[in-house]
Symmetry: C2
Subunit: 351 residues, 2 copies
């Protein structure tokens, strides 16, 4: 088949796709009329409408959104930047966004920026270059000022930040209180030595979860001990390594609070290798409530903050924003899901 590229078959290879002009010709009306009919911009006489409909059907015509976008200045397309396209957690958020957007006849454009400021900026530029009607960022890592700057030109909805003005709407989820609830759950079970597996330090969610942990400790007069914390990067492997490190360091603890479920899985693995049982020897709490978390053994106690819901809300907010209103959405509050990975301490004590 293809071996050499012919000089310029260019767009003519596209001959299967029909254009608005062809429809107009076949229907015996002007392109303007077809356009108006398509967009409902003006009323079209019954006769012409039928002729146009017939022509569209016969030619199997589908309007080219690219061209509409160029001409009309809007593309019915929303840029969505996520940090990792393969994250099971954010994946659910994308799902929610997609659902709402599609239903409203918008198309999401997903790009991922890998927690890197530079990549995030590149993604935004590329999205703006494509003239998206708006940008949704699932947990931005760019500084506030930059974000506000971009929002001057393009409507934006961002999550995980407390910041808003004009075309920039933020949807903050409450990592702080989620982490606090998780820690308090452990404390109420009698645990005093609670290890914390931290997430990527540069990542705002990570900081807030750490703050929530510290706040709970403080509220119960338990001193915060940095030796009880270990750094991870939100991946499974880092949770495993952090847990091992903690053990090797010799500090004592009866429970582990991991800054996300994936790291909790890593802790499970490390504990398993160490011959320790969950929750008999060590209690474990995660954060996020990934789908797998209720199926591992023992089922993981964790903090659920429905990223799926948040995705839906973000998308709805964007649509309203484009529509001209200035909504102030609220993220659903985090919720503690108690399963089987936590137990009172000492084991025989009453809860």
């Amino acid at each position: 088949m293809a071996k050499t590229i012919p000089s310029r078959p260019k767009a003519s290879s596209r001959d299967t796709v029909s254009t608005l002009e062809m429809v107009a010709a076949k229907a015996g009306v002007s392109p303007s009329t077809v356009s108006r009919f398509l967009n409902g911009t003006a009323t079209v006489s019954e006769a012409k409408r039928m002729a146009i409909e017939a022509a569209i059907k016969k030619l199997n015509f589908v309007a080219n959104p690219i061209a509409s976008g160029l001409a009309g200045g809007k593309s019915r397309c929303i840029g969505v930047v996520t940090q990792a396209i393969d994250s099971p957690f954010y994946g659910r958020g994308l799902m929610g966004i997609e659902e709402v957007l599609i239903a409203a006849d918008y198309v999401p454009l997903f790009v991922s920026s890998h927690w890197r400021e530079q990549d995030e900026m590149r993604c935004i530029s590329s999205l703006e270059g494509r003239r998206v009607d708006g940008i949704i960022i699932l947990t931005a890592c760019l500084p506030d000022k930059t974000l506000l700057d971009v929002a001057k030109r393009t409507p934006m909805v961002i999550t995980g930040r407390d910041l808003g003005s004009g075309q920039l709407i933020s949807l903050k989820f409450d990592h702080y209180n989620g982490a606090r609830m998780a820690t308090e759950h452990l404390i109420s079970l009698g645990h005093r030595q609670i290890a914390f597996l931290k997430g990527t330090p540069s990542h705002p969610d990570a900081t807030e979860r750490l703050n929530g942990y510290r706040a709970a400790l403080k509220a119960h007069d338990i001193p915060y001990d940095p030796k009880l914390t270990a750094r991870g990067d939100f991946g499974e492997a880092s949770g495993e390594k952090a847990t091992q490190l903690l053990f090797n360091s010799g500090v004592k603890f009866s429970a582990i609070f991991a800054a996300n479920d994936q790291m909790a899985y890593g802790a499970y693995s490390a504990l398993y290798q160490l011959g320790l049982r969950i929750p008999d020897d060590i209690s474990v709490v995660g954060f996020d409530d990934l789908p797998a978390s209720s199926f591992i053994s023992p089922p993981l106690t964790t903090v659920k903050h429905s990223i799926y819901e948040i995705g839906k809300i973000a998308a709805q907010t964007m649509i309203q924003l484009i529509g001209g209103s200035a909504p102030s959405p609220e993220a659903p509050p985090p919720e503690l899901i108690i399963r089987k990975s936590t137990q009172s301490y000492p084991a025989d004590s009453k809860q």
Copy 2:
């Protein structure tokens, strides 16, 4: 020249975004020259090149791919249809695709079609409407004929199918042999009663995995017993339910082979509730090797077929295809990863 140019205030809200024309004006050259410089279509004198570069930097110019696409007939944009944007498995594939595409200065457009033929067709139409340069489908569910039809117009790379002609390249991964290897592993450990957790029946991957399971059985003269199989839908919950069903039905078995890791997690959960230990009482094998699989307890024995690699290969293939060559890529073979969830049977027998 026109006598009166009707001032169109309209799109002027976009005044922050600069255009090629503005760059040309500032650099004191014609738009054509700027375009040529941008695309490397022709050599540009050193002096003009510098002037253009300076203007681009000063104006913070980013070319509008939409317009280029319209004008030039190609958009440097590849449509990627996946089945579920939130699948941790396919997510890794998207990651691989994205990586290669970005590096080659293409932009992926992700859409998801939820294992529904109708949605898949809608996605493809929408992608074609946007004039993507090519379409990659991660495991299509549309019939061959339809796919071939689309490929007449737009270059396509699809996975999980054995089909190819002209602009349609398929990248088949070997579910059959993967499933066969997994089953044979169990057989070699002494298991004879091996339950199989099936995936969504309409899903081609599911059928092939079932076939591999049956082939291994047959090769070892073990009769295939439908009572030992239970249907799932590739989700965790379905694996749990299927396992419970199997137990309640009263059939005996010493091992479970789940058609994917997510269902294996479900089996873990059911087994846990039943008070059965893995692998002491029941061996479990999964399929896919999700990141979490090495971290659950016990770590799951599974079949790894690197979807990440496959994503990369698919993207590379697409780039070559657009470049005019007719590659015939090969997917990496599946690999059995033996971890701790399988054990010889009876427990005391030697392996």
